[in-house]
Symmetry: C2
Subunit: 107 residues, 2 copies
């Protein structure tokens, strides 16, 4: 298990990316479209999401096997995503969503 990213709800992905690029020198844009963005900003991967699509959350990466084991343990259903990742959410104390996510395994 390894910390993967922070996701924040923003009204405008492009405007959010522009703000962070100005704020944190050397910010790299890893992905950007109108409804989802991902940057690497001085040691953190920060995702921008739409309020009607995803909650703001913290995500930890696990293996496929760990994901299935943890989902079963917590009685959760795993959702596939368009980029090949799979994940489910838990609620941490303070009503803070936590995502457990697995990435496609390399061949």
């Amino acid at each position: 298990m390894r910390f993967d990213h922070v996701a924040q709800q923003v009204p405008d992905v492009a405007a959010a990316i522009a703000w962070w690029q100005q704020m944190i020198p050397g910010t790299r844009v890893l992905y950007e479209d109108e409804t989802w963005g991902l940057i690497e900003a001085a040691g953190a991967r920060l995702a921008f999401v739409m309020a009607d699509q995803h909650p703001g959350h913290l995500a930890w990466r696990v293996s496929d096997r760990e994901l299935e084991s943890l989902a079963a343990e917590h009685g959760k259903t795993i959702s596939p995503h368009r980029d090949g990742t799979r994940s489910f959410y838990l609620q941490a104390p303070g009503d803070q969503p936590v995502e457990l996510i697995s990435y496609p395994e390399p061949d």
Copy 2:
């Protein structure tokens, strides 16, 4: 500038730390009292704060000199904290608080 921590508002610091210790194997408690906690959880430093004391936020660490320069640039006042750190907050897109923080310099 380097990513430092995520802070989340929780109703009970001890209960939050217990939840995360159960959730993420190997979580280390770096600090804990009734109003503030700090853990290291599989690659992320996660702070727990009280709603009446701090907003939930993401924090990036800077040097004292950078902190003063950035505060002046953004017209912000630097606040000292009980642990010797100094910081100020900005609002990122999506009304997301961002803390810029400096730590006491080693002798």
